[in-house]
């Protein structure tokens, strides 16, 4: 049953993930000095990318800003597809009549979403890191530990993804009430992401907040109306 939900979710979110990876790779290719994007839409965004790294990879802000923007958009679209889309199409009525606890159904959805998001978002880090680690590609030094900052951003945006899920499934009538959890999570994410805390401490905070958000989502999903 769990696998049935996981497969369904992956089938639905795969195109979004592939698109996100493609955008990431186009962006990263710019940093690596490969010109792929001169005729693409939104090329202004990509053309602002320095052609070739201007400093030390992952340390100077050449990677982080583009990675953050693409990842946030990916998280928003992913959460929309997983939560709001089912509401709009009325398929929750079909899904929640399957003989499986509603909490488990939503847990399967969320864990699939997070896993898929993490895998897709790791691709540009690995590709850019691999390029940076290859001698002769750039003049600066490189250690894989330099990627921690980006990885911290990646995991912090998991909180944003969960906050967006809460916003989508919360049956609040007022926009303010609806987006309140997202604003709260956004503020926390902005506080955590750039703060140079010890990695285990940052990760612990993220895990605790994510657990709270997942519990909240499962509670809302179980108790709200699907009219």
């Amino acid at each position: 049953m769990w696998w049935a939900i996981v497969r369904k979710e992956l089938r639905e979110i795969a195109p979004i993930g592939l698109l996100a990876v493609a955008v990431h790779l186009v962006f990263v290719s710019g940093l690596m000095g490969i010109k792929l994007v001169t005729n693409l839409p939104f090329r202004g965004f990509f053309l602002n990318v320095p052609q070739g790294t201007q400093g030390i990879p992952f340390v100077h802000q050449d990677f982080a800003w583009g990675f953050t923007i693409v990842t946030i958009v990916f998280a928003i679209v992913l959460a929309f597809r997983q939560a709001a889309w089912e509401d709009i199409k009325g398929t929750y009525l079909f899904l929640f009549h399957r003989p499986m606890a509603r909490t488990h159904i939503f847990l399967a959805k969320i864990l699939t979403g997070i896993g898929f998001y993490v895998v897709c978002s790791f691709v540009p880090i690995v590709v850019y890191g691999w390029w940076a680690a290859t001698p002769g590609n750039h003049p600066g030094p490189f250690e894989w530990s330099m990627t921690w900052g980006s990885i911290r951003i990646l995991f912090t945006i998991v909180l944003l993804y969960l906050g967006i899920l809460v916003t989508y499934i919360l049956p609040a009538r007022w926009l303010g009430t609806r987006i309140l959890p997202l604003v709260a999570v956004g503020c926390l994410a902005m506080a955590i992401a750039p703060t140079p805390l010890l990695w285990p401490l940052s990760l612990s905070i993220i895990i605790i907040l994510a657990s709270l958000l997942i519990t909240t989502i499962c509670h809302i999903a179980t108790n709200r109306d699907y009219a």
């Binding site: 398929t91 929750y92 109306d225």
Partner: protein
């Protein structure tokens, strides 16, 4: 006979509007129950509350004696539900949808799904988004009955289907009903469908269940009396069970619930030149019964022989 579905004072508000009002319903095992009502009467909300999709503000609903808000997955597996409009995953093919649904049920009958899909000549490779509304209903029916459910709850299953598809769908439904003594609750706007399939009906008017009785009982309970006069008809007398009265030229049409000798005597007292008692079919009975917004409607709940 055991009651499979029972509700106790089930009530739901949306904002300040009471959508379902103190619904008390008991549906015995093996019966085919048609839930009728005009648009906005509260049928879909009542059905969603029965399945735990909508939480009641007051009261409770039980399926197999189990509160629906805490319905166990094993109990849910015994119930098939076709939601209004047949919401299915449009990005999936029929084959993928069947493959998605099957692992949830221990009693999944793949042969039966195949038979139904073959009967409707549906290609497994076709995506749900490319199916017509009627074909979606057919796929939804195949998936609903595949786990061999004991109870089927169908929310307006023939909504939007053309006459031919609707007839075909209903005939398949009748076959499924006849195959085993399943309990079926379905809502519908199409009275002909209900008349063909249901042995018992409930009529909801503005969120209130006004009728709950065998189909034949409902039809027999309502009688239209046509009175002709030489000139302007007199005012309609105050009669117990009066559902409605309409004046057409020199003719007065009166619809009465529980028509009897007392009514006849009162109408004779108006001195019509001609008086005719007309038996109503289900559609006419329903229209007469639910027409108008504010008239006081009689309630007949208890039927003879049960």
């Amino acid at each position: 006979m055991n009651d499979i579905i029972t509700t106790h004072r089930l009530t739901k508000y949306y904002g300040k509007q009471r959508i379902v009002d103190t619904l008390n319903l008991s549906i015995p095992e093996g019966s085919v129950y048609g839930l009728l009502g005009r648009n906005g009467a509260g049928k879909s909300t009542a059905i969603k509350m029965l399945l735990g999709m909508v939480r009641p503000d007051r009261g409770r609903a039980e399926l197999y004696g189990e509160d629906v808000t805490t319905l166990r997955p094993e109990s849910r597996a015994r119930i098939a539900y076709m939601a209004e409009g047949h919401p299915l995953y449009t990005g999936m093919t029929i084959k993928q949808l069947v493959a998605f649904s099957a692992p949830f049920y221990e009693t999944w009958n793949q042969d039966l799904v195949g038979q139904i899909l073959d009967h409707f000549q549906l290609s497994r490779k076709k995506r749900i988004r490319h199916l017509s509304r009627g074909q979606r209903a057919q796929v939804a029916l195949a998936i609903a009955v595949a786990p061999d459910p004991e109870l089927l709850i169908l929310d307006d299953p023939t909504l939007g289907l053309d006459t031919v598809v609707r007839r075909d769908f209903l005939e398949s439904l009748i076959q499924i009903i006849q195959r085993k003594g399943r309990t079926i609750l379905f809502s519908s706007h199409v009275l002909g469908d209900v008349e063909r399939v249901a042995d018992r009906i409930g009529v909801m008017v503005a969120g209130v269940l006004r009728v709950d009785c065998p189909t034949e009982h409902f039809k027999k309970s309502l009688r239209k009396v046509v009175l002709e006069f030489t000139g302007e008809p007199p005012a309609t007398p105050s009669l117990e069970g009066l559902v409605g009265a309409r004046q057409v030229g020199s003719t007065l049409e009166v619809v009465i619930a529980g028509y009897n000798g007392v009514h006849r005597e009162a109408l004779d007292g108006l001195n019509p030149t001609h008086l005719e008692e007309v038996e109503l079919n289900l559609e006419d009975a329903f229209i007469e019964y639910t027409r108008g917004e504010k008239k006081p409607l009689p309630i007949f709940y208890r039927e003879e022989g049960e």
